[in-house]
Symmetry: C2
Subunit: 492 residues, 2 copies
């Protein structure tokens, strides 16, 4: 391959899976690890995850949630304490049987999630209502041995945050679980520019061991649904087997009310799928690690061009400082690469804004700002904006804001256009066979009926939207009484 060759990627419209793999690999977000199903998150991809941490930590801090770290290995015997939980995770476990050259008596499970190990500690730490609430989060790696894997979206090891709290009463737990759901909504809608539906899971689809699972669900461009993040009201399902008991305010013994909630690197995969196009990634400006790239055209008078490029960088950094768009502005002056290569690289990497700088720009004391997409502005859409040096900071900020809004608007329109109502089962099957997307339909909440719908249409219940209990009707499949319209979809 010539060093100047543009990296070729499959068109998104031709084959979305191939396009996705091409983009993730060639934009250097990630690479396949040596063990099947594992992934290396490369610096450009990891910078996105660091950005998520930077956004999410202050949200948690304001509510008093603190970060901590619990061990990777869970004794098999601990995991078995909560029956539903161990059943849910058993098929996916990785187990250490040898350590320090010896066979272990009690094998160690590599955490698939940390309820059991954390709650065995909470049991020691919590004695009185004065010790509550306990509000702890950890950013860590977990392992779930999946058969079919997909970069970011499903890998045997992934990174996430898992929050685990304990409260005096169920009201405290419900408030916490709903607050976490709201944080996730904000991450998706305000940062990833992905509109989502919020609701609760059916009994079959909820987290193994939860009383109620809240979830947010997003629609991908292929019409399939991505579970974005989940938040669980665990009730006393764990506090009883783990003996997290405490003396309450009236002096009586009680068991703590708990929650757990998690957001993983999977969510980044959803963002790549949602916004990318035939040229590569499109990153929402609030999340993009690099906000803008300056491309100096080097020839004679290099120094003038480079100096002007540096001035632009300074002005832009000044303009973005203290805003939600503060971040890296890079000058790509590597003489080993052509301008054409660099331009296509800014597109592949989804960099929000690019400006090319030559002698003409130096003389005119201004540049043309090019956005990654044509923006849907009042005057009919723009991709280029000519600006003078002294106005560049303000203009870059405006364009980043417009691009952020624009991406959300396109995704919202898509979600709206692909959320259907089905009143008959024929209609339901027809929609799932032809266009997929979300279907809103009454369902009787019977697990058998749910399973048959899934077998017949590949669509599972996704959630009962939070405001859906206001309507009653009859089940779209069996005709029995239904207490709300559920959202159905084919899950990733």
């Amino acid at each position: 391959m010539s060093k100047f060759a543009k990296k070729e990627i499959t068109k998104k419209s031709d084959n979305i899976s191939e396009w996705y793999n091409d983009v993730v690999l060639k934009a250097e977000l990630a690479d396949y690890g040596p063990v099947k199903g594992t992934m290396v998150i490369r610096p450009y991809g990891y910078a996105l995850w660091e950005r998520v941490q930077e956004i999410f930590n202050p949200m948690m801090r304001e509510k008093g949630v603190q970060n901590a770290y619990f061990p990777l290995f869970i004794p098999q015997s601990l995991l078995e304490k909560e029956k539903e939980h161990v059943e849910g995770f058993s098929p996916e476990l990785a187990v250490v049987t040898i350590a320090g050259g010896e066979k272990l008596k009690d094998p160690l499970v590599v955490r698939p999630t940390s309820e059991t190990i954390m709650y065995s500690m909470y049991s020691d730490w919590i004695q009185s209502w004065r010790d509550l609430p306990v509000l702890i989060n950890q950013w860590n790696n977990v392992v779930r041995w999946e058969k079919r894997t997909y970069l970011f979206l499903r890998t045997t090891e992934f990174l996430w945050q898992e929050g685990h709290t304990a409260h005096e009463d169920e009201a405290g737990a419900i408030d916490m679980a709903e607050t976490a759901l709201e944080w996730y909504r904000s991450i998706y809608e305000d940062y990833y520019a992905i509109p989502v539906y919020l609701g609760i899971k059916s009994t079959a689809e909820k987290f193994a061991g939860a009383k109620t699972t809240y979830s947010l669900e997003a629609l991908m461009p292929d019409g399939k649904v991505l579970q974005g993040a989940t938040s669980h009201n665990l009730g006393q399902n764990f506090s009883k087997p783990f003996n997290i008991s405490f003396q309450n305010r009236t002096g009586k013994n009680d068991y703590a009310w708990q929650t757990s909630w998690g957001l993983s690197t999977r969510s980044l995969g959803g963002m790549f799928l949602t916004h990318g196009d035939d040229d590569g990634l499109v990153l929402p400006p609030k999340i993009a690690p690099i906000k803008m790239v300056i491309l100096p055209i080097l020839g004679k008078d290099d120094q003038k061009v480079l100096n002007f490029s540096k001035k632009i960088k300074e002005e832009v950094e000044k303009g973005l400082k203290g805003t939600e768009y503060e971040g890296r502005v890079e000058i790509w002056d590597n003489p080993e690469k052509t301008l054409g290569w660099k331009l296509s690289e800014t597109e592949l990497k989804g960099i929000p804004i690019e400006a090319t700088v030559g002698l003409k720009e130096v003389e005119e004391n201004g540049v043309v700002l090019a956005t990654r997409l044509i923006l849907d502005t009042e005057d009919g859409g723009i991709k280029h904006r000519q600006v003078r040096l002294e106005e560049i900071g303000k203009n870059v900020l405006e364009l980043l804001e417009s691009l952020q809004r624009h991406l959300y608007k396109i995704a919202s329109r898509y979600l709206e256009e692909n959320t259907h109502e089905a009143t008959t089962y024929e209609e339901f099957k027809e929609i799932m066979n032809t266009k997929r997307g979300f279907i809103k339909a009454f369902w009787c909440e019977d697990a058998e009926c749910e399973k048959e719908i899934k077998d017949e249409t590949k669509a599972s219940t996704r959630i009962l939207p939070l405001d859906a209990r206001q309507e009653t009707g009859v089940c779209v499949r069996c005709g029995k009484e239904a207490k709300g319209r559920w959202l159905f979809g084919q899950a990733y």
Copy 2:
């Protein structure tokens, strides 16, 4: 235990090991995990590790090192590619043999360090000198199955950063390894307030697979030596078996020159040991998660006292903003705890400054700032400083700076007083038997001689200080020619 009972800890002077465990557990830095040898890092301890990340990330970024994430599991076959390396780590490995309900054909080692898995990827990514240098770091968890464990200082799983770089020539690798060493020196001396010796390891003590290991070594209060962090020039020892080859600037094929370097949560244990006293932790102000605690005395006119406490908090936060001492200022207004309990808790947790606020302070519009230790000032040492509200920001900053300097000064004096020279082996043995500490002595660099010194005195070679090659002499034990004075000590 009464809810008002002060937490009792062993005196440091009575039994330093018991004191250490008491402090780590009762200050809620960490707790024992359910699996022997594992540790839970609680929020107060984890906040220290987050502070280290906050300090270390910008150092790396300035040099162009980027964060990334590589998989936890290493196929046994990959680990075996570098002979010395696998031999060095084999006794300490944890091995996954079952995953997804099936026995694995190629067992997976839980990473004890990531050279092998990272370099198998580097081999794919590096083709030309244009791809170099590769400068990648990861913050992650690693597992080494140790028999004897100790909270923070030696645990079967620990957190660390591991930097891994590849360069065009050895000069680039040496520069990188030495730069990392300098970063570690700064973390220890400028932040942890622990003076260190820098140097290179003997062949027996170097990292399994390294060409040269640089290390920094610190003296603990019991006279034993802690290896603070290490940085390795790997030469081409890994690039050859892992085939990290590239076309160099002259068009010829070459193998990359590499480094790796790491700093772990172990270093925090060294900091607790170094500065703590009979009352508990003493945290250097630059690292302390909580810089100051305000203790309101609640009674009648609560609101006045609380309002004044809030004003103090605001003034202090304003005074620290933008300095290296920016951080949390807390008001401990929990009415469930007595003032006495809170005062002893600020000591146990090593909080640099405390101020008690009652009606008298409100009326006088000022408070007394109390430092965790008596400061060694020109006028003979102070612990208390009376200040008016409007001057409080400046004064807290001054006291934090003084405390930071003071801790370093005490530790430096201790290091100096406990670094001995030995010219005869009798003298060497006498020192190691009675007071330990560091011994500077000529050594012949023969591995057999080194082993015998260790068997006879428990002291191992720690490092050859960076400037030590200027002297020659005869080996303190065998009398053979010696090309420099080495530092010896009993290692943790």
